[in-house]
């Protein structure tokens, strides 16, 4: 396979797998799983420093942001203003322009509030951010995000943390076909084969957190995802055989005795 470059915004990423750093038992396990996944970018959240516990271990002590790119998210934000505040703080903290916008609309489903998402995307792009946007799997809204200047569009496969896999392949395929920016499936991936399917559909990348963090053996699952994403990508680039209704023999009939 000739050099297959994955470029998002102004960054070239070695791996098409982006992993989350939440939900692990501890930071040591987080760091081990991230390493096993081979990911070159991880999502992180912005939260208050615990001023009462000065010895609390820090994520930055376990994951060196000089070696692995941090992608700050807006998890927990339910409107454009909250998410803008969070990402402006993130930019001040690390100096990164690349961020993940995630404006939630409903606590039960964690579905994105697309009206607020569109609003925030517009402002962030204007302020010079490279925005990767978590969104619904609506082809028209995905295209609208692209028009607004999103660096990548990240439709959900199914609800965040549900592990239900890709529920709407048709929508995802339409989004991919129409897109001129990278499409990264974010949310709902449950196991390695889900990631392979996403990549085979033509996604540019996959973002996974719970499926790795909540696996019985998170390190092994991280490695499994690494292989699954590579495998799916290779399969997509290779181009699959056409599906046929009836059987076609694999051995030639000529010379049959």
């Amino acid at each position: 396979m000739k050099k297959d470059i994955f470029k998002v915004g102004d960054q070239v990423l070695k791996s098409r797998l982006i992993v989350g750093t939440g939900k692990y038992k501890n930071l040591k396990e987080t760091a081990r799983a991230v390493k096993a996944s081979g990911a070159s970018m991880v999502t992180v959240a912005v939260r208050r420093v615990n001023i009462l516990d000065k010895k609390k271990p820090l994520l930055t002590d376990y994951l060196n942001s000089k070696k692995i790119k941090y992608l700050p998210n807006t998890a927990g934000c339910f409107n454009a203003d909250e998410s803008l505040r969070t990402l402006r703080l993130a930019r001040e903290m690390g100096g990164w322009k690349m961020v993940k916008l995630e404006v939630l609309g409903d606590k039960k489903t964690l579905y994105p509030n697309m009206i607020e998402t569109l609003k925030a995307t517009k402002v962030l792009v204007k302020e010079g951010f490279k925005v990767l946007v978590y969104c619904s799997d609506d082809p028209l809204l995905a295209k609208e995000l692209e028009y607004l200047g999103a660096s990548a569009v990240m439709p959900l496969a199914s609800p965040i943390g549900s592990g239900q896999g890709i529920q709407n392949k048709i929508n995802l395929s339409i989004i991919i076909k129409n897109a001129k920016v990278p499409i990264i499936v974010d949310a709902g991936i449950g196991t390695a084969s889900d990631a392979t399917i996403a990549m085979e559909l033509g996604c540019d990348g996959v973002l996974v957190n719970s499926a790795i963090a909540k696996a019985k053996n998170s390190f092994l699952m991280a490695e499994s995802f690494k292989n699954a994403v590579i495998s799916g990508r290779q399969s997509f680039v290779a181009g699959r055989m056409p599906k046929l209704f009836y059987a076609v023999a694999s051995s030639p009939l000529k010379g049959l005795i």
Partner: protein, 67 residues
């Protein structure tokens, strides 16, 4: 003396504090955080220059694990 709100908690500061000295008091590495003073993000190179006043609301944030 200044009564301030720091990360949602009411705090009393008995002497004059800049943002830099406040971070030192809580043993916080200024490279790993961002500070918001009364809703405004403060540029890192201004931490030394800004004195904390009575009724200030300060938020100090950092990166944690997330998806």
């Amino acid at each position: 003396m200044a009564k301030i709100q720091l990360n949602g908690r009411k705090i009393k500061l008995n002497s004059k504090y800049s943002i830099t000295t406040l971070l030192k008091k809580y043993k916080i590495d200024s490279k790993k955080i961002a500070v918001e003073l009364n809703g405004k993000i403060i540029n890192k190179n201004k931490y030394k220059l800004i004195n904390i006043k009575n009724k200030d609301t300060i938020e100090i944030v950092h990166f944690i694990g997330g998806g």
